[in-house]
């Protein structure tokens, strides 16, 4: 595993702000493109980030998304202050959702969020419990020959 971190970014997420939903994920997509990450990987990360971001918007008071880019992988952490997930197995079941009626009327709450994230990421870890918020950690392996990956010894950039 390559330990050289090329970039680190953090994006705040506001709970209940439906109209802002997707802002963090859109920024993630832009940052990854600028870093030379392949379109296929960008899409996987963007889809997973959107679902995770909307989980914070729909269920939590606030949170943030942290993005780390490495030569061989992209690592995302989504941490929130919210009610947490009481039953992880249930939350991972496609179609199960605890979203409000208001959220469902807007087309959210299909119960596909966490399953979608699991499908996109190469590695997924959730830490949560009732009243503890949610800490979600995702790893996406980058494809073999992506452009923009500095050669060994190059210090890369960080922000």
């Amino acid at each position: 595993m390559d330990t050289r971190r090329l970039a680190h970014h953090e994006f705040p997420i506001l709970g209940r702000a439906y109209f802002l939903g997707g802002r963090a994920s859109t920024s993630v997509k832009q940052v990854l493109r600028e870093a030379g990450v392949s379109e296929a990987t960008v899409r996987r990360v963007a889809v997973a980030c959107y679902e995770a971001e909307m989980n914070v918007v729909l269920h939590a008071r606030s949170g943030y998304l942290a993005l780390d880019i490495y030569p061989d992988r992209v690592v995302v952490a989504v941490i929130d202050k919210g009610p947490g997930i009481e039953n992880l197995e249930l939350a991972m079941t496609p179609g199960w959702s605890s979203a409000s009626d208001e959220a469902r009327a807007l087309g959210f709450g299909a119960g596909m969020g966490l399953p979608n994230i699991r499908d996109q990421a190469d590695k997924m870890e959730i830490q949560s419990g009732k009243g503890e918020g949610v800490r979600l950690f995702l790893t996406f392996n980058r494809e073999g020959c992506e452009s923009g990956v500095p050669a060994a010894g190059d210090s890369g950039t960080s922000s």
């Binding site: 994920s25 997509k29 959107y50 679902e51 596909m112 499908d119």
Partner: protein, 116 residues
């Protein structure tokens, strides 16, 4: 089986009689379509170059279409997008078009046009 000409967003907009709210991506070739009002479904199934037929009108539809790499959103059923939705579509250069027809009708016409 007849050869189907590629369908651009502009051609579909004209053929389906859609009204333009944000005229972006008119030259984009339509690779397929989604008909759904569930955002997570479109997030999972939406593909680059597709168009999305929905009756949702809030700004998140632009985020979903943008992240999935879709060309345009067709809002059916006579619904109109919220001002913030329009602003975001302009910002992200995603086509936004409206119609009084149902999602079913728009999808049928798009299929007839050759979009598969």
């Amino acid at each position: 089986m007849g050869y189907l000409q590629p369908v651009t967003v502009g051609r579909a907009v004209e053929a389906l009689g859609l009204a333009a709210v944000v005229s972006a991506e008119l030259g984009g070739e339509i690779s397929g379509a989604q008909v759904s009002d569930l955002l997570s479904y479109v997030m999972a199934e939406g593909k680059r170059g597709q168009v999305w037929i929905t009756i949702q009108t809030h700004p998140n539809i632009v985020a979903v279409a943008g992240l999935a790499g879709m060309h345009a959103i067709f809002i059916a059923g006579g619904f109109e997008p919220e001002p913030e939705t329009v602003a975001r579509a302009e910002e992200e250069e995603i086509g936004l078009f409206i119609s009084a027809e149902t999602s079913y009708t728009l999808a049928g016409r798009l299929y007839e046009l050759g979009v598969r």
